[in-house]
């Protein structure tokens, strides 16, 4: 089992571990793919200088699933990670849980790292889209993926998020500084008082997950909870699966064995070079994603599939807007179960596509999600501090 794909010798500052989807120039970055095994980036991700400026040091790179689109790292070229009981865990989350790093930084494409935080009992925050620069991250599904943070406590999460949030001219989707500043630890925020519980999503989850929801409610003193039907949110799954797959298909097409990365040993022409390299270097889930994503963009399907998903995205965004007129956040599971094993992912290669029913709503809308106590809260845009305040309260931190 490989938790680290690279480790720093001398760490100055509070140690932070990066998922192997974040580019570093002094350590290789492979995004869990044989295609990029040993790939050395010429430049660091934007967040790295921000972390260093805030007194953090990078202690290493953590194993991730290929392009971070799987359930819990099970598709990594370097193998999956499990705990003593055989339960699948996210490598960076486990490194934090072991106390080797104060926080883990990941790419949240469709919630893989959010699930990992839940499995390892961490607090997790995926901020509002555009508040943390994606410059220097391995692109998978650019329209929704975000740099996310997990830590043992809400206050550590906040400290790291506060350090990395900020406008970046090198990222064309980076929001203006005044918006990014809302994520700073000392920014004004309102208190979360009223939370909607997304029934349609809770109902489909296991009893253990339902118990986590109840436990969350019990610990959220003074917060009013109200169940809502939330059937609309279930459509986010198909829509995000479409958008994500198409974007992944497009983003990994640059890995073709020509410029860098894996090149097959045998080929007799350019098409064989491409096909053999990609066939040998990509894992099965990624291949399926590429093929599905490609098909959603075909001339025949574009309007009825891809374009439809773009419109459904707006429907979901507007649905949240309506909810947020009455509620401060929406509570939902982050996964259907509280533990998965290799047997689960072997039995269903596409389990991540099924589990995205819980994670797609925040991914497709770019809204912030927090994971605390193994459940997920989706908040208004820029409500990260409010979500983390609530996490502090629920976890009885500092008491």
């Amino acid at each position: 089992m490989k938790l680290y794909t690279a480790k720093s010798e001398n760490v100055s500052g509070k140690p932070v571990v990066l998922d192997d989807t974040i580019l570093t120039k002094d350590m290789p970055t492979a995004a869990g793919s044989k295609m990029l095994d040993g790939y050395m980036s010429l430049f660091d991700a934007e967040i790295i200088s921000k972390l260093k400026d805030a007194g953090f040091g990078i202690c290493g790179k953590a194993n991730v699933g290929e392009m971070a689109i799987d359930l819990l790292g099970e598709t990594s070229y370097y193998g999956e990670c499990t705990d003593e009981s055989g339960k699948l865990v996210g490598a960076s989350a486990e490194i934090v849980k072991n106390g080797e790093a104060v926080a883990a930084i990941s790419m949240d494409v469709c919630g893989s790292s959010a699930r990992a935080a839940a499995m390892s009992g961490l607090v997790y925050i995926k901020p509002t889209y555009g508040t943390v620069s994606r410059f220097g991250t391995i692109p998978a599904a650019c329209s929704g993926e975000c740099v996310a943070v997990s830590a043992k406590t809400a206050s550590e999460c906040r400290e790291v998020l506060s350090a990395i949030a900020g406008h970046d001219d090198k990222d064309g989707t980076s929001l203006p500084e005044d918006k990014c500043a809302l994520l700073k630890a000392d920014a004004p925020r309102s208190e979360i008082k009223k939370i909607a519980i997304a029934k349609a999503l809770v109902d489909s989850a296991s009893d253990e997950v339902k118990a986590l929801i109840e436990s969350f409610k019990a610990n959220a003193d003074g917060v009013e909870f109200a169940p809502i039907d939330a059937n609309e949110l279930t459509y986010a799954q198909a829509a995000w699966n479409i958008l994500m797959s198409a974007e992944v298909c497009n983003n990994v097409s640059k890995y073709d064995g020509v410029k860098y990365g894996y090149r097959a040993a045998e080929f007799s022409n350019i098409d064989e070079l491409y096909t053999n390299s990609r066939t040998e270097a990509f894992g099965y889930l990624l291949k399926s994603t590429i093929l599905f994503g490609s098909e959603t963009l075909s001339e025949d399907n574009y309007m009825k599939v891809y374009d439809k998903a773009l419109r459904v995205r707006r429907v979901i965004v507007e649905y949240f807007d309506k909810l947020f007129a009455d509620f401060d956040a929406v509570l939902m599971p982050v996964s259907s179960k509280t533990a998965y094993t290799k047997a689960d992912t072997d039995a269903n290669t596409y389990i991540a596509y099924d589990e995205s029913i819980y994670t797609a709503p925040a991914s497709i809308t770019g809204l912030p999600r927090a994971v605390v106590g193994g459940v997920q809260l989706v908040g208004k845009a820029f409500s990260e501090n409010s979500l983390l305040d609530l996490a502090t309260k629920v976890r009885k931190e500092g008491k």
Binding site: S253, K287, V305, Y350
Partner: protein, 93 residues
Amino acid sequence: MDREILRRLESLNQLRLTEEEKEKVLSFFEMQDKEITRLGDIDTEKVERMVHVMPMNNVIREDVVNKVFTRDELQAAAPEAYDGYWQVPRLVE
């Protein structure tokens, strides 16, 4: 979704699946197809598509040249390079 479409998709995406993988991917497509059909429940005719979740306009830069990396640095990881070029099998011309 049939094997013919799948064969075309493999070619289009420079991938080659084994027979076993093809079976699996066909069932995956079938599953996704059901989900896609379900999206039909939502009337989106009057809904505008949403590409960017945090919409902004005119994220543009001035026309200024800035060179950061040398050719040698860029080609350091090239599987094959010759005389400052990336190199591939000869294309039929």
